[in-house]
């Protein structure tokens, strides 16, 4: 079985090469068939691998030495175990659906750009596969930066709009800040352990001192902050919505942004041994969850709401990782991939129908025009809100329960965030699909349900969002029903051995589930009532609301305390320091030579007498010096 591992990333790579190099010769249908076919092929291989892993355990394959110098040996190797095979399924499965969706969504593009789009998308899948399949941190880093590159290319896909390219640049640069942390962690590992292979690192983890582990985990987490959009590096993700909507669904919701969670789940043993880092992650995750949710409350752009929602959900995943609920976090990655991809694709369908209108204040009443989109979107909203028995309920519940076990305070805040989530999601839903249509007549005239290639992925994802949660039913309902935990247990075995599991009593869990469900339902009904007959009014964005609508002015803050000072400083370096101080010093030396030679020239005044005088004076001086054997004479004696 390990012989076919390389096929998984190979197919998307081939797809990328064909579409990238042959973009002038291929027709649009052919392009989409090649691209989607490539992903479908790797999905099939992934399924085979998954079944294999499920039955016989993890497999690995090494191909060639990427770097082999002295004691640093980094093989180009893949490792397929429970965790990575699960991610493979998510990436290729959802990836395929989104490729299919894109083939219709992007149909307006010329074939040249159409091929470019699919080439980028395939390249992204390739990089993401490298990220999860790598058997060591360096291969993971290759994928890590590769997805950053594809994210850059796809956000800036419509490059004629200069603002989109700013968003792309911002995403790449902010990711790079995190990447620096990742890279330093890798150096630290190489330095202390001499290896970056997961197997060796985790086996030798006892050789690291406590301080080392804390620093390595913190640095890795900084990498995750950038990639998975956590405070303070989250601002790129909402801007990344400049890219085509399927891209947002695939990269900025389902897969790339969860790379940070994958990485931490992968290194779980390191994190379990670094309780301070874990606490830090939990706090950052929770803070991000709440902060982003609060912003999402007042956003009017359909994609922006979903983007902040993604940031917030990622925060929950990090909360899960921080409290040691690794399975819960991975579970949430999976369910989130289902329903957030669904929501984004649904939003894409809406935007498609509305002719690129994204402001939900100008929508409304789309229920009757877009029935399939409407129903699937509603299911997605229910799933993300955490209404039982939709998938989001199970995964979120697992994280929050673990948070409660760690510290009830974390639970209360987490719950508050979950309520905000259900509020803003149903605000979004109600504004978009309920009430009367608020757009122009022209738009209304053209409203239509999207083609099959777009609705099929919606239906599949909706089904997954509804039933996806049943692979992780909490123990409280039925003993041994948590299939996912059982499946992933080899990955987290090392951590589990170190932590004592403190189960909550069944009655507490029931109470928690009961109250949270009740509260969420109340919020949903409240939002439904409030926004189903929405009329725009002027005064709604005042005071605190204005603060939220402007995203707490974080972008402005970063701009004024980081971007502007750096710009000013580099302007100062360029125009003052470089020009006047450093080059000035160099030119100054030159000028000094010229000036002093101009002065020195005056001695050569053409008066023979003065020449002779100087000669005589110096002869006398040397004579005296010689007689008295001064240092200078000794120096000359030595020289000659």
């Amino acid at each position: 079985m390990s012989k076919i591992i390389y096929l998984v990333p190979l197919f998307p790579l081939i797809g990328f090469l064909i579409n990238g190099l042959g973009r002038k010769f291929l027709s649009k249908p052919l392009i989409s068939i090649i691209a989607s076919g490539a992903i479908l092929a790797s999905f099939i291989v992934s399924v085979l691998l998954f079944i294999n892993v499920k039955n016989t355990g993890s497999i690995s394959a090494a191909y060639f030495d990427f770097i082999n110098f002295a004691n640093v040996v980094i093989p180009f190797a893949f490792q397929i175990d429970q965790l990575s095979s699960l991610f493979l399924l998510i990436i290729t499965g959802i990836g395929f659906l989104i490729h299919l969706y894109s083939s219709a969504y992007m149909h307006e593009e010329t074939s040249h750009h159409y091929a470019r789009y699919f080439a980028y998308l395939n390249l992204f899948v390739f990089s993401m596969l490298l990220l999860v399949m790598g058997a060591n941190y360096v291969i993971m880093f290759i994928g890590w930066e590769g997805v950053g590159l594809c994210s850059y290319l796809l956000i800036g896909y419509w490059f004629k709009n200069i603002n989109y390219t700013y968003a792309a640049k911002k995403a790449f640069v902010m990711n790079r800040i995190g990447d620096l942390g990742f890279l330093l962690a890798v150096f630290w590992l190489i330095n202390k352990l001499g290896t970056v292979a997961y197997v060796d690192v985790f086996a030798n983890v006892s050789k690291l001192s406590q301080a080392d582990i804390t620093i390595i985990t913190t640095l890795l987490f900084i990498g995750a902050m950038g990639k998975s959009a956590q405070i303070p590096l989250y601002t790129w993700l909402p801007d990344a919505m400049a890219g085509p909507t399927p891209v947002s669904a695939l990269i900025h919701a389902a897969t790339m942004v969860t790379a940070g969670i994958y990485m931490i789940a992968r290194s779980n043993i390191l994190y379990t041994m670094a309780p301070q880092t874990q606490a830090f992650i939990a706090v950052i995750g929770l803070a991000t969850a709440l902060f982003a949710a609060s912003i999402a409350l007042k956003q009017d752009d359909i994609k922006k709401v979903l983007a902040y929602s993604t940031v917030s959900q990622l925060g929950y995943m990090f909360l899960g990782l921080g409290v040691g609920a690794y399975t819960g976090a991975v579970f949430h990655v999976m369910t989130h991939a289902f329903f957030k991809a669904l929501l984004f694709l649904g939003a894409g369908s809406v935007i498609h129908a509305m002719h690129h209108e994204q402001d939900i204040r100008k929508m409304g009443g789309l229920k009757k025009y877009l029935p399939i989109t409407h129903i699937t979107f509603l299911l997605g909203c229910l799933a993300i809100a955490g209404v039982p028995p939709f998938s989001g309920f199970f995964s979120k519940d697992e994280i929050l329960t673990a948070a409660y076990a760690k510290n009830p305070l974390l639970y209360y805040f987490g719950m508050a965030g979950a309520l905000m989530t259900s509020f803003y999601m149903f605000r979004l839903y109600a504004l978009t699909f309920l009430g009367k249509f608020r757009g122009t007549h022209e738009q209304e005239h053209h409203l239509h349900e999207s083609p099959l290639a777009m609705t099929i992925p919606l239906l599949v994802l909706a089904a997954l969002s509804v039933v996806g949660g049943f692979i992780g039913v909490p123990e409280v309902f039925k003993a041994d029903s948590h299939w996912l935990e059982h499946f992933l247990s080899p990955i987290f075995a090392q951590s589990a051995a170190l932590t004592e599991s403190h189960h909550l009593s069944h009655s507490t869990e029931y109470t928690m589930i009961g109250t949270s469900t009740a509260l969420i339902l109340v919020t949903i009904i409240f939002a439904w009532k409030k926004f189903s007959n929405y009329v725009p009014n002027e005064g709604e964005n005042e005071g605190f609301n204005k603060l939220l609508a402007n995203k707490w002015y974080v972008d402005e803050l970063y701009n004024s305390i980081i971007v502007k000072p750096i710009e000013l400083f580099s302007g100062l370096l360029k125009n003052v320091i470089e020009k006047n101080v450093i080059d000035g010093a160099v030119n100054g030396v030159g000028k000094l030579v010229v000036a002093s030679s101009r002065q020195l020239r005056l001695i050569q005044n053409g008066q023979v007498g003065s020449y002779i005088l100087i000669m005589v004076v110096f002869i006398i001086v040397f004579l005296f010096a010689w007689i008295n054997d001064l240092t200078i004479v000794r120096f000359f004696n030595k020289l000659f």
Binding site: F64, D65, F66, I67, N68, F69, A70, V72, H112, V138, F141, I142, E145, G146, L149, Y152, L153, G156, F159, K160, N161, I162, T165, Y166, A168, K169, F172, V173, R176, I177, D179, L180, L183, L184, F187, W188, I190, N191, I566, E567, F569, S570, G571, L573, K574, N575, E578, I582, D583, A585, V586, N587, G590
Partner: protein, 476 residues
């Protein structure tokens, strides 16, 4: 015999090209000659037979200087770089028009000979001879075919590097008088047993020359001006190959001879280098001229290499060697882009460009590859070198590595800035009627892109080529 061929083929080709009349013949002749050199250098890297990698003849018997040239792992790589660089340059700038074409190409070929000599010489006086020999044609190239401010700039460039070289000459003589057999040969320099004071003296004398040539902060100000004012073909050689002379000098002529002094001055030099890395990166962010932007970017990369050398870790040194080659390829790629833009649109100002991806998609795609190689994205060739170098710096001092690491963020900022300002957005007056690149530029950029990707995925051959050389440097 191969090293001699590598030096004398370009010399003869250069001299002959002075005599040619027809412009197209000259260009063809230069290209053929560079291809022959390329073939020879490929032969050079595959051979290990001492008879063909070493050549020794009497040169100045009264001084004890001999004409000794030889190929080791390090020089094999740099010879290959020189050969590849000149071929790429001749292909890419084939359409450029020059007055006195024959003289231009003649001087270019002589420069190649000088560079080959620098990388091959194992006699210190011969090394010095070629060091200056490579400088002189470049001086004429810049001062005759350069931009508006060429006279002042070339004068500064020449004086600056020449003053440095004179210090080195004093250093060479200093070591020469310390050798027991009064010889300039590398081996007798290597077997010197010097005290710390002697090492420091020699180090300072040599290092001034190398530091100016690299250049490291704050001795760098000649470089952006020289790059900006030189004809682009010369700039490519200057930044692709010539700045490597300084790094090469430190590795081959300082590290094994004065290890104690290197160790003593490591910290200040590394701090200066790291300051230079950040300083140049920050300035690059604000540049409006593409050529100056690339120049500052190059200063930042070279600064990192210098810091890596002084970390004295073999892994960092391996990184530097690989990076010397890869940086040469990448930066030439960027210059080809700059040249293509300037030749066609007549401007290099970012503020006057925009939307070129609409009219020149091929150029845009290839430039993006160059740009991401410049920010050392994994699976491009630059990543591997930077990875190894940072590793070594990290081993030496964690904080230096962390601070120098900021440059990978800043590199992303200025490189993507450049890509964005040139290619994205709507077309402007300058780019409205632009057409895509011609076959020459396309060919040379494609070769560069292929090299970038292949060496990025399979860097091991380069590592194997230079491994033994690095090992030998540390045996001493």
């Amino acid at each position: 015999m191969i090293p001699v061929l590598l030096i004398f083929i370009p010399v003869f080709a250069g001299l002959i090209s002075f005599l040619l009349k027809n412009e197209r013949t000259v260009k063809g002749w230069a290209l053929v000659s560079s291809l022959i050199v390329l073939a020879t250098s490929i032969g050079a890297i595959t051979t290990n037979n001492p008879a063909s990698t070493l050549f020794d003849a009497t040169w100045l018997p009264s001084l004890g200087a001999r004409f000794t040239v030889s190929l080791d792992g390090m020089s094999k790589m740099l010879v290959l770089l020189t050969a590849v660089a000149f071929t790429l340059v001749f292909v890419a700038t084939n359409k450029n028009e020059y007055k006195h074409t024959a003289a231009f190409y003649g001087l270019m070929l002589l420069t190649q000979a000088g560079l080959m000599g620098v990388f091959l010489a194992t006699d210190c006086l011969l090394f010095y001879f070629f060091w200056e020999f490579a400088l002189i044609p470049v001086y004429f190239l810049c001062s005759i075919w350069g931009g508006k401010k060429r006279i002042a700039v070339t004068f500064k460039f020449f004086i600056y590097t020449f003053v440095g070289s004179l210090f080195m000459l004093v250093g060479i003589l200093y070591l020469y008088f310390l050798t027991p057999d009064q010889s300039f040969s590398l081996n007798s320099f290597y077997s010197l047993k010097l005290t710390l004071t002697q090492q420091c003296n020699a180090f300072l004398l040599f290092f001034i020359a190398f530091a100016i040539k690299m250049p490291i902060f704050p001795l760098h100000t000649w470089q952006p001006d020289a790059y900006e004012q030189s004809p682009t073909a010369t700039t490519m050689i200057l930044s692709g190959v010539m700045v490597k002379m300084g790094l090469f000098g430190v590795i081959k002529w300082l590290l094994p001879i004065v290890p104690l002094a290197i160790n003593r001055y490591a910290m200040p030099v590394m701090i200066l280098s790291v300051i230079g890395v950040l300083y140049a990166s920050l300035i690059a962010i604000k540049q409006d001229d593409v050529k100056r932007l690339i120049a500052y970017s190059s200063i930042a990369h070279i600064g990192l290499m210098c810091a890596a050398i002084f970390s004295q870790k073999n892994i960092a040194l391996e990184g530097v060697l690989i990076q010397m080659f890869n940086h040469g390829i990448n930066v030439i790629g960027l210059w080809i882009v700059a040249n293509a833009i300037e030749q066609q649109l007549g401007t290099r100002k970012l503020s006057e460009l925009g939307g070129l991806a609409v009219t020149a998609p091929k150029l845009a795609i290839l430039t993006v590859i160059m740009a991401f190689a410049n920010v050392a994205l994994p699976l491009t060739n630059a990543f591997i070198g930077e990875f190894l170098m940072f590793n070594g710096i990290f081993q030496y001092n964690i904080w230096l590595a962390a601070v120098a690491g900021i440059s990978i963020i800043l590199a992303a900022v200025y490189t993507l800035n450049m890509v964005q300002k040139i290619f994205y957005g709507n077309t402007v007056t300058a780019t409205e009627k632009a057409i895509d690149i011609d076959n020459n530029v396309f060919l040379s950029l494609s070769i560069t892109a292929v090299l970038i990707l292949v060496l990025g995925v399979f860097p091991q051959p380069l590592i194997d080529l230079t491994k033994s050389a690095v090992h030998l440097l540390f045996v001493k």
